[in-house]
């Protein structure tokens, strides 16, 4: 409404004239409109983060005031806590299993949907549904029941309850994540529809079969989208909590097999009341995710192809 009153020139060339009153006022208005989010970010995100950074250098049991201990939490974590390292290994295993599984499923379903003539919208919604439901505790609890002793999987295949077998429980968690492939699937689908049909026609003329077309046209053209999904899902997988919590009934068991990083963090903070230690763990996780993401970006130069940049 207000924008219509301002001539387009004023918008285009603010640098040419000294900052006019209108421009300043407009900037003020922008801040006012932003304020709920800015305040929210400060009060609900930045401030707690600063406090958690401080707490990570303290011994804090939730009841008595935090006590400064310097780097002790960090040294204890790295040198004296075997369970910490077990949780790191469990998390890495989970990331390596769950992320490729989920992305592969998402890609396969997206490819199948792409070729569909009818009912595409229906199937797209149907496959997306688990992602909407999956974030909820209730589905994770159902998942636990399905994979428990006497659950559906046990009855159908006689496998026993996966959630009570240390070798299998983590797979049940990974499957729950993989099942929620809706978000990457939709992104893949959008990416697939961007690939120009001429490329496939040209490849077909050159005698490329379906598989060849997939490898030489689809994969390179889709690589930016693949990369985007990979980074996003990896970051999420490192922070997995809800499915592991629900499937192990809050304990990370059996025998610590589903004790992923954030579960151990929760255990230290809220079960054992070592908030300082838990805060230190959170900051290490943040740093590790940062490093992993940076590494992914670094390697992406060699395998992600941006059509707009031409042939580099």
């Amino acid at each position: 409404m207000t924008t219509t009153a301002i001539p387009p020139e004023a918008k285009r060339a603010p640098a040419a004239s000294p900052r006019s009153r209108t421009a300043r006022r407009r900037e003020g208005a922008a801040w006012v409109f932003l304020s709920p989010w800015v305040l929210g970010a400060i009060v609900l995100t930045l401030l707690p983060m600063a406090v958690s950074l401080y707490l990570s250098f303290t011994d804090y049991d939730l009841f008595s005031p935090p006590e400064w201990v310097g780097l002790r939490n960090y040294t204890q974590m790295f040198t004296e806590d075997p369970r910490y390292w077990r949780s790191v290994v469990t998390t890495l295993t989970y990331v390596v299993v769950a992320v490729p599984l989920q992305l592969a499923l998402a890609l396969v379903v997206a490819l199948a949907l792409k070729g569909m003539k009818r009912g595409k919208a229906f199937y797209r919604s149907a496959f997306y549904a688990p992602s909407l439901l999956g974030a909820s505790m209730s589905v994770a609890l159902v998942w636990r029941a399905v994979f428990n002793d006497g659950g559906t999987v046990d009855n159908l295949f006689g496998t026993g309850g996966w959630v009570n077998k240390p070798g299998w429980a983590l797979l049940a968690v990974a499957l729950l994540t993989a099942w929620q492939f809706g978000a990457p699937m939709v992104i893949f689908l959008a990416g697939l529809q961007q690939i120009p049909a001429e490329l496939y026609e040209a490849a077909a003329v050159d005698g490329a079969g379906t598989w060849r077309q997939f490898l030489s046209v689809t994969v390179p053209m889709l690589s930016p989208v693949l990369f985007f999904n990979l980074v996003l899902q990896t970051i999420q997988a490192f922070q997995v909590f809800t499915p592991a919590f629900a499937i192990s009934a809050g304990k990370g068991g059996p025998a610590d097999s589903t004790l992923v990083y954030t579960m151990y963090l929760y255990d230290r903070g809220f079960v054992a009341s070592h908030m300082g230690y838990a805060s230190a763990m959170a900051w290490v996780l943040l740093a590790v995710i940062g490093v992993v993401t940076a590494v992914l970006f670094r390697t992406s130069r060699s395998w992600v192809f941006y059509a707009s940049e031409g042939d580099r």
């Binding site: 304020s35 939730l62 009841f63 304990k251 809220f270």
Partner: protein, 427 residues
């Protein structure tokens, strides 16, 4: 036009934004319910205890029309995590049920109100003085126990009788107990008991049967890795023989009777506290009876009467008097006592105990009879466990998981536990 509008626009937008922030901080409890005082009261327990507690609370609300009590309960494991978080956030419920293990931590953390301030409405004169003292930390009465409890071997009477194995009588040693479990497993085809290796409580009973204790007087560890390795070797062998529950069953324990092997119909007995054992009746409708815990090989009893389920009042409560009234009601009111029965153990109020004792019926009577059969035979309870014990209880269970899933030897796991415990108790 726009120039005129902006100022008013900015102001109202700013006001709006502020409102949003303030709204997030608002919502005080006083404003609800037209001037009524609202108390929050939380506890842990099984559905049976919940039902009786709700009835008692309803009676309290009837007697005090100006007080509204909001209740909530959950299983013990979930309860203790939630309560710790609430307490840390300065949002502890007005009246909260506490375990013996929590008293020290909550009292020294400043979460609990000194109950002496409310002695006008909270009477303690009729309470067994020895039990009352267990709610004191540094000579301040922070909480009042609601009952006393002791551990028991609860068993499925019908299955045991059918098996032909002699029923437990007044007392048994750990090796006699183990023989019975082996015999039960052989005759019934299912394990005799829940694997007691996961339970810090059972370990304590075993340890005390040998004249030792979990913690020393000054809050250090009262046993060595050798002791623990012996205990876990004992239980691990029983598990391998099938006399106690397999790892897949044991790992599902979460403090509720529903998830014990006995509750699932997967074993004949379960070692538990006597009050919550009432929950087994709903799961084993053919009947549950109580036997004492096994004693040391020379007959030294390991179990003890533990003050159970304390009530404390939050130091931050807006209504200390009303909160104290509720505590008083739960402990000293005869009609409440009749409703509650032995759902939290045998009442601590001696007048009430004598008065309602003969009237107790069903499982409450079973518990009362069980406790009187032990009266005078048990040793004094240990002092309140140190703060770190709260976390160690789950560490104990977790470390034993490594043994029962055969990922560690009893010795390795025991050494792990002792290392973790020492670190926990130091901090």
């Amino acid at each position: 036009m726009p120039g005129h509008r902006t100022k008013g626009f900015c102001a109202s937008a700013a006001a709006l934004a502020l409102c949003a922030v303030l709204a997030g901080c608002g919502g005080s409890e006083e404003s609800a319910d037209g001037g009524k005082v609202v108390l929050r009261y939380t506890w842990w327990g099984n559905p049976d205890r919940a039902e009786r507690t709700e009835q008692a609370v309803a009676l309290f609300e009837k007697q005090h029309p100006d007080i509204d009590v909001t209740t909530s309960f959950s299983g013990y494991d979930a309860y203790k995590q939630k309560l710790a978080t609430q307490a840390a956030g300065g949002d502890a419920p007005d009246v909260m049920q506490l375990d013996y293990r929590q008293i020290d931590q909550y009292a020294s953390g400043g979460v609990l109100l000194d109950l002496a301030q409310q002695k006008a409405v909270l009477r303690t004169s009729e309470i067994d003085q020895g039990l009352l003292a267990t709610g004191r930390v540094d000579d301040v009465q922070y909480a009042v126990p609601q009952g006393r409890g002791t551990e028991t071997v609860a068993y499925d009477v019908e299955t045991w009788k059918k098996s032909g194995v002699p029923l437990p009588d007044g007392s048994w040693t750990w090796s006699q107990w183990a023989d019975s479990m082996r015999a039960l497993a052989e005759k019934t085809g299912k394990p005799g008991a829940t694997d007691p290796g996961q339970s810090e409580d059972a370990f304590e009973v075993w340890l005390r049967g040998q004249g030792r204790s979990l913690y020393t007087e000054d809050g250090g560890l009262g046993f060595t890795a050798d002791d623990l390795a012996r205990w876990w070797t004992f239980t691990d062998e029983l598990r391998r023989e099938g006399a106690v529950s397999p790892a897949e069953q044991t790992t599902q324990l979460d403090g509720s009777v529903e998830n014990t092997p006995l509750g699932r119909g997967q074993s004949v007995t379960d070692a538990n506290w006597d009050a919550p054992a009432s929950g087994f009746l709903a799961l084993v409708p053919t009947g549950v009876a109580l036997a004492p815990m096994p004693s040391g090989e020379d007959g030294t009893p390991g179990q003890y009467f533990k003050p159970s389920m304390f009530l404390g009042v939050s130091a931050d409560t807006g209504h200390p008097e009303e909160a104290a009234q509720l505590v008083d009601f739960m402990i000293n009111d005869r009609r409440a006592a009749k409703i509650l029965g032995a759902s939290r153990g045998i009442p601590v109020n001696e007048t009430i105990r004598d008065a309602i004792g003969p009237q107790l019926k069903d499982f409450d009577k079973t518990i009362a009879d069980f406790q009187s059969s032990l009266d005078g035979r048990l040793k004094d309870p240990p002092q309140a466990p140190p703060s770190g014990d709260n976390a160690l209880q789950s560490t104990f269970q977790r470390d034993y998981d490594q043994v029962s899933y055969e990922r560690m030897s009893p010795r390795e796991a025991a050494e792990n536990y002792v290392t973790e415990a020492k670190a926990e108790l130091r901090s």
